[in-house]
Point group: C2
Chain length 353, copies 2
């Protein structure tokens, strides 16, 4: 069957011919509908994140997938069910406490592989198999957009951690600051915009479709070249909730100043090493005197995918129409990996329902 992946030593994805997988006991066979492309894919292609499966000379890409059950193979699914796969799997042949508890997203990197990212083939192929426990049911009406469930689930988990960190006292966030106007940032703006005043940090010039989306959601675009993160409380207002999706390490520290008292910043970026000066004494004191919190968040689990199903169903159609800028047939997959200024979210399409 066709698959899209990278080969060791190559710098761009290729169309590969790989064997159609056979489901083992407890696995279903899934016919792939669409697979989204995101920043992590580009990092994997560039070799700065993740890695090949051991003893394999290629990695099938894709971790944002939606498909249809082709062969239930004695799982609880029926042929034709629409499903989205979670990303993490136990390392070869095993399991561990995190997977047994349904909390694979809390496993340290040594206790997990990630399909399409690190150590296991992804979903960007005509078919894939998956154990039942790692497949989440998707309503048929959401099948076409089901590739958005994975990124939404990433934000569901980060927000869950952030809210949990404030759960021992009364906390009703009124302001949120999303750092980053890439696809994950824009999805998060859309997720929060109905419930609070949302600001979104970027560094793009107008006209720009991501700025248009921010503003169409009623949120405020903040150009980091004019208003640095730490200046936002003075220029706009202090932020109860910050969601960092830039991978720019100084933002983690600048967020402490941008938070309102009792606020929390969720960090999701994965920067490279970078040493710089901080006024650690002042930040430490600010953190303590105002009961602030920082939470790091990686990946997401089945419960976050299920929350994402409800969330996706509630996102406004005009946002989704503007957000998904390209659905590309799998034989023309290259277009989905280009990053034109007008691209926001692209996906590779293998089949329709």
């Amino acid at each position: 069957m066709d698959a899209i992946g990278i080969e060791r030593g190559c710098e761009s994805p290729r169309l590969l011919e790989v064997p159609k997988p056979d489901p083992t006991d407890g696995e279903a066979l899934i016919r792939t509908l669409r697979v989204g492309v995101d920043g992590t894919d580009h990092e994997v292609i560039a070799g700065t994140h993740g890695g090949f499966p051991e003893d394999d000379d290629h990695l099938v890409l894709g971790h944002e997938a939606v498909g249809v059950v082709e062969d239930p193979n004695d799982t609880g699914f029926e042929r034709g069910d629409v499903v989205a796969p979670t990303v993490r799997r136990p390392p070869e042949g095993g399991t561990n406490q995190y997977f047994e508890r349904g909390e694979a997203d809390m496993a340290p990197p040594t206790e997990t592989v990630e399909r399409g990212i690190d150590g296991a083939h992804g979903f960007m192929s005509e078919y894939f198999t998956s154990p039942e426990a790692f497949l989440v049911s998707v309503p048929e009406a959401l099948a076409e957009l089901g590739f958005l469930l994975e990124p939404i689930s990433i934000s569901e988990k980060a927000l869950e951690l952030a809210y949990a960190s404030r759960s021992s006292f009364a906390w009703e966030p009124e302001t949120a600051f999303v750092l980053g106007n890439g696809p994950l940032g824009l999805l998060t703006v859309a997720m929060l915009a109905d419930d609070m005043r949302v600001y979104c940090l970027g560094r793009r010039d107008r006209p720009d479709p991501s700025i248009d989306i921010v503003e169409s959601l009623g949120a405020t675009y903040v150009d980091s070249r004019e208003t640095p993160v730490e200046a936002v409380p003075d220029v706009h207002e202090p932020m109860d909730l910050i969601y960092e999706a830039t991978g720019y390490a100084k933002h983690a520290f600048d967020s402490i100043d941008a938070l309102a008292p009792n606020g929390v910043a969720a960090l999701l970026g994965v920067p490279e090493p970078w040493t710089f000066d901080v006024d650690g004494g002042r930040l430490h004191k600010e953190f303590v005197m105002h009961n602030k919190a920082l939470v790091g968040s990686v990946n997401s689990g089945p419960s976050h995918f299920r929350a994402a199903v409800d969330r996706l169903g509630a996102l406004p159609d005009p946002f989704l129409e503007a957000f998904v800028t390209g659905i590309v047939p799998h034989r023309g997959f290259e277009r989905a990996f280009e990053q034109r200024k007008t691209d926001i979210k692209t996906a590779v399409e293998f089949d329709s329902i």
Copy 2:
């Protein structure tokens, strides 16, 4: 009546003659038993923390108090009830959302004064008054040690925030690292020692009574001159829970490396500004990839005092006997403010029950 306080322009506490207070409506009059001394008192005396009440030329010290109701004055208390006062009060003449919710500890500094610390007289006097809502009942058997309820409540709050931050997934901490072997650090070691493997960071030479206490509780003393915070996972083990009570700003950042995956560090120190280098990129990535958290925590509210009553009753007698190294009659208060190497926790005594 006698009070112990500092006068503007003076560098050490003095015995002052101040008027005996009259309880206003809703306030009870309390006869003071004992008032503890801690590091914050020394910072207040040195002028590096807190401040005088507006328009007053002196500040009565003391925020760790226990007393006996002398005049209930139509509150729900009876004459003879043992009580401990919380520390924060609304700024003059008002109230605000934090106090109305019983969460004064979550008020930003502009929305509160702190008795004996910042903007309001403390409890180090023969009598004090307090609104009923800020008095916590203490069993008579704990009257003599009731001055420990305030510091214990500080840790109760910090631990509550830390546990809350990990409440969205299964988290059962097995290892804890208490940074600082001052009174607050030692109390926290005692609070945690039954439930997990506890390590305590200090930089004192043996023989030292604080090290003896750490070891008598079954905890491990870590000398920061031999084993820096970030080396602890290799030398000992990674820490699920870190409690920082040193005010040494680098510890806030070094804690990120000392944490186990999914761990949390509670920061309580209040350092001065201090700029230094950090590998912010690496720390940011570490934070995200292992779902780590940092929570800042200041002060404590009535619920934490109530939890502290239960906690104090459960602390082992040998610990408490070794921990309280000096009870000083109020006319010899100077001794309680000396900081000899053999001093751990001292209190000024005004009266007995």
